[in-house]
Amino acid sequence: MMPLVEVRDLVKTFSRRAMPFSRPTVVRAVDGVSFVVSEGETFGLVGESGSGKTTTGRCMLRLIEPTSGRFVFGDKDVFALNAADLRAARRDMQMVFQDPYASLNPRMRAGAIVEEGLVIHGIGTRQERRDRVRELFTLVGLDHGQLERYPHEFSGGQRQRIGLARALALRPSLLVADEPVSALDVSIQAQIINLFMDLQQALALTLVFIAHDLRLVRHLCTRVAVMYRGRIVETGRTEDVFREPAHPYTRALLSAVPTPIAGAATARVVFDAAASNLDAPLRTVAPGHDAAI
């Protein structure tokens, strides 16, 4: 399989000041992240808040500008593109956001939200665009009768379907989904996850799935990278990483997930950051399985 996505040494720093005129301190939100994703693969980026997983996803699409590093997407060097070329490249890579309440314009009708990308990129005639929007509504399981409704008239799960239809309108080959189900109820989460799996099959999508829910990542992703404080501390095939976690942080993270089985043994592992070498480089612990130990 050809790698479609190749991220190399991605760094994003933010500087902030404790007080208005004090010396700024530099926070390395993403600190040298590298990974490859093959065409058609689902790659999971997991970590807790502040791990840099969302920043990584946003840098890839240049929704925020990376500080340094490279992102090769197909034959394009994304971080080197000028504004016009970037706009063209964005047709092929789209993002689905976490909060279906905040990411849809409340003053636009659902059909217009999905159509907007087609209009911006000047695709098709008015009628062709309308047809495409209907097709997308069907694809994500929405009713054509809902085209003229406003976002507030939809439930959370339906809003996430609109977000997905919008992302798919331009037929992208890469979808970066940032916690797409974490704001949804359990019974609705499963519907949206199924939709992701169906669409990925049908459209041969490459998916970067950013999430904190390890059960979900295990279910959906073929390979995974665990992030901690801006770095990837472990990466490999999902089953290998979950079955034989090599990094103490991965072990702690896995042991903290409560299983829905009463009386299940919970030998919790606690990660002691102070006692770990957080600067250790990734090294291969098994074929296709790397850990920073």
């Binding site: 609705i188 199924n194 919790r268």
Partner: protein, 326 residues
């Protein structure tokens, strides 16, 4: 001995106006359950099922246009629904502690952590200001906050999310309540922090002999924490029993659906999602509220909601699957 908390037929309604028409939304519909001394009951359900309104009803914090319209809430052998504001204030915070979901909004940003933890001791006349300050430091130590004396002087924004939740737990147990109501206490937290807070709640429960009403949407949290579990759907209690029984042999199709929809068994396969969405409480079907989404639906499900039936002395369910036809 009577249970510590005995809720019978609790009904809480909100007056609403929709498109100019006045109506009533029944957020909690004839809900009955009990919590014994030292016991933890998990109250489970999705958003809008009425689990938080149930908790707010117990401590008399339902604000107009909402009000309790039926039922009784016996706590330590008094009916809380009959108490006036002053009497209620003597129970709330003193005999029943409350931990909310969002640790940032539950703390007042302009008062120090120590002042807020000591406040209920002062309000309930259990300590002077000076004594409350010293007690707050002790409580911060009890919830395992490092450097408690220094932290007591900190403001909420100076603490991490996990620390704030610890401080809230310290405040909730300051008056040694008999019952702690925890409403999604770990939902806003990272999974490793969640595990720490659950550990802490377990320790506090053992140390102070607390009973707990734990409100959550996470069946994993229930499995780890609760002795018994009650499942709510669209304002009604649909199943109730020991955690082990309900999680291993769920009787209500909704409980079964929730458990089956969790990822975990077979990676890469479709999840067994529950079709449809949670119904609008203002437009509930006449029969069982879950019927439109239910795979086991029968004709009688649409006509009338089933009453609870007992599968054992401790396992109850509201579903016609467990009621013989005719």
């Amino acid at each position: 001995m009577n249970p510590l908390l005995d809720v019978r037929g609790l009904t809480t309604e909100f007056a609403v106006t929709r498109k100019g028409v006045a109506g009533v939304v029944r957020a909690v519909d004839h809900v009955s359950f009990h919590v014994d001394r030292g016991e933890t009951l998990g109250l489970v359900g999705e958003s809008g099922c009425g689990k938080s309104v149930t908790a707010f009803s117990i401590v008399g914090l339902v604000q107009p246009p909402g009000r309790i319209t039926a039922g009784s809430i016996h706590f330590e052998d008094r009916d809380l629904t009959g108490l006036n504001q002053t009497q209620m204030q003597q129970v709330r915070g003193a005999r029943i502690g409350f931990v909310f979901q969002e640790p940032m909004t539950a703390l007042n940003p302009v008062f120090t952590i120590g002042d807020q933890i000591g406040e209920s001791l002062v309000v309930h006349g259990l300590a002077s200001r000076a004594a409350a300050r010293a007690k707050a430091v002790e409580l911060l130590e009890a919830v395992r906050i490092p450097e408690p004396a220094r932290r007591a002087r900190d403001y909420p924004h100076q603490l991490s999310g996990g620390m704030r939740q610890r401080a809230l737990i310290a405040a909730a147990i300051s008056c040694r309540p008999a019952l702690l109501i925890a409403d999604e206490p770990t939902t806003a937290l990272d999974v490793t922090i969640q595990a720490e807070i659950l550990d802490l709640l377990r320790q506090m429960r053992a140390q102070f002999g607390l009973a707990m009403l734990l409100i959550t949407h996470d069946l994993g949290v229930v499995a780890q924490m609760a002795d018994r579990v009650a499942v709510m759907y669209a304002g009604r209690l649909v199943e109730e029993g020991s955690t082990a029984t309900v999680l291993s042999s769920p009787a209500h199709p909704y409980t079964r659906g929730l458990l089956a929809s969790l990822p975990g068994s077979a990676p890469g396969t479709r999840l067994a999602a529950i079709p449809g969405t949670v119904p609008d409480l203002a437009a509930l079907p006449p029969g069982c509220a879950f019927a439109p989404r239910c795979g086991d639906r029968e004709s009688r499900c649409d006509a009338e909601a089933p009453s609870p039936s007992a599968l054992s002395a401790t396992h109850h369910v509201r579903c016609y699957l467990h009621v013989k036809a005719g």
